[in-house]
């Protein structure tokens, strides 16, 4: 009988204790956050989407070589001596037009290995991690700031420049060859002038 009454009392009492606990929790600020509206702070060294500051890129392709999954695809065109490319923020002189700087984030594994070799620190990790797409093609990011026509122009310019150079070189070579030939001819002539005398001597 005593146990019976104690059971009853314990049941009621423990229910009240439990209710006290839940009542307290009713006023505790929630520990969850409204995710798309609020974000938890991202750690400083978190590895997320890459960003390329194309103004600083010198097109050295070291990141492309460092990438273990080959997700970076860079194409460059040499600049003409007359082109003004400006300097990077570190003061390095740029010598190449970066006509294509593609990073395929469908392939990227966020290892950060491309970030370290960059001499101008132009490829960096950002804090953006929400960039899912419905189509895989949309994950191919092009960081180059040259338009297609500009790329074409640069390529043509370079090709023309090379042609011109080749032509100049050819001309120079021709001139040189001509000069050499002329020199040879002259020396031969000299020889010829000398020879008869010897021949004459001989004869």
């Amino acid at each position: 009988m005593k146990k019976y009454l104690k059971n009853t009392w314990d049941a009621l009492w423990t229910i009240f204790i439990g209710m006290k606990v839940t009542w307290k929790h009713l006023f505790i600020p929630s520990v969850t956050i409204q995710y798309p509206d609020e974000h938890r702070p991202i750690p400083d060294r978190a590895r997320n989407r890459l960003y390329v500051n194309i103004d600083d890129c010198i097109g050295c392709m070291q990141c492309q070589r460092a990438c273990p999954v080959d997700c970076i695809d860079i194409k460059t065109v040499k600049a003409l001596p007359t082109d003004e490319l400006g300097l990077t923020s570190k003061g390095t002189k740029k010598a190449l037009w970066v006509t294509q700087f593609n990073i395929d984030f469908a392939k990227c594994m966020y290892c950060q290995l491309c970030v370290f070799p960059c001499p101008t620190e132009c490829i960096t990790m950002t804090k953006v991690f929400e960039f899912s797409e419905y189509e895989r093609e949309k994950l191919l990011y092009n960081f180059s700031n040259l338009t297609l026509s500009e790329v074409k122009e640069k390529e043509e310019n370079y090709a023309k420049f090379m042609e011109k150079k080749a032509a100049e070189k050819a001309a120079a070579a021709k001139a040189k060859a001509a000069a050499e030939a002329k020199a040879k001819q002259e020396s031969e002539k000299k020889d010829n002038d000398n020879k008869p005398s010897s021949e004459e001597k001989d004869s």
């Binding site: 059971n7 009621l12 229910i15 439990g18 839940t22 009542w23 929790h25 600020p29 929630s30 969850t32």
Partner: protein, 355 residues
Amino acid sequence: MYDLLTNLLGNQIVAYVIAASLPLIFVLTFVLFAVLAERKVSAHMQDRLGPMRVGWHGIIQTLADMLKLLQKEDIVPEGADRPLFNLAPLLTFLGTYAAFAAIPFAGIYVGSSTAIGIYYITAVSGLVVAGLLLAGWASDNKYSLYGAMRTAAQIVSYEIPTAIAILTMVMVSGTLSLMKISDMQTAHFWNWWILGGPETGIVKFLLIPFMIITFLIYYISSLAEVNRTPFDLPEAESELVSGYHTEYSGMKFAFFFLAEYANMFAVSAIAVTLFLGGFHSPIGYLGHSLGIDWLIPVEQFFWFAFKGTALVFVQMWLRWTLPRVRVDQLMVICWKYLIPYAVVNLIIVGIITLL
């Protein structure tokens, strides 16, 4: 109320229809807010936020859910007993809604001012069991059937302590009419039955502890009757994949949901009427002191809804506090604890009232 409406509209049938649909409006609004409140209370008790997207702090979430349920496909399982399957949700809601007929919402509004109000409610609530059993049986699903059998066992068992607790109150107050019981507890909160009622002198103070015990017995067994945690074995998501309404979808499921929440308010309303002064204000009426007659029913309705909602909140509070009991524990609580206590309590209260 009927006389007023009949005079106003000049047609008795229209007056009856309007009077009968007034609780429905209340129940629908109540359910809209109760479902949201349940989710919010559960969330905040678990340090979450709950629905936050639809409207300010998710205020119209239930409305969106209702629209979704309305659009859903109405699926009837292949092996189901079609007529019974379709009948079950209606019967469940009918049983719940019929109970509202005898609940006095305010001094001027009670669906039926029958002299046997509380008896009628106890009887008509039994229809809910039939509805749930029908749902479980017609679904042709063993989990549903299990849930339904458990519901039947549970509700029939817990009818006994409920009935004895109600009997205690009927004995003390000497009437079965809920309107009369409400009017006994008028004026101030020390006239509530839980605080000894309108009795005077030593009897009042002797009654208080036993009235509190009666209230607790009624409240606990009413929890079991509406299938709320810790007695939610019939639904038991983790073991029975939500029991008797597993196979229901769309509007029929919504009906079960509606019935469940309406039932929560119904049992709370009975507890309020029997123990907590019914629709009467605990601190006197503003309408009386200002001399505005039409304000009094509004105040009465407010107090009734307020007290009922407070008890519903306690139900939710308990739900998110306690784990579910086992089937054997369920039966032990009923037969070995609640019923003996209720019977002893009934005898003691009887002796006190004889003093």
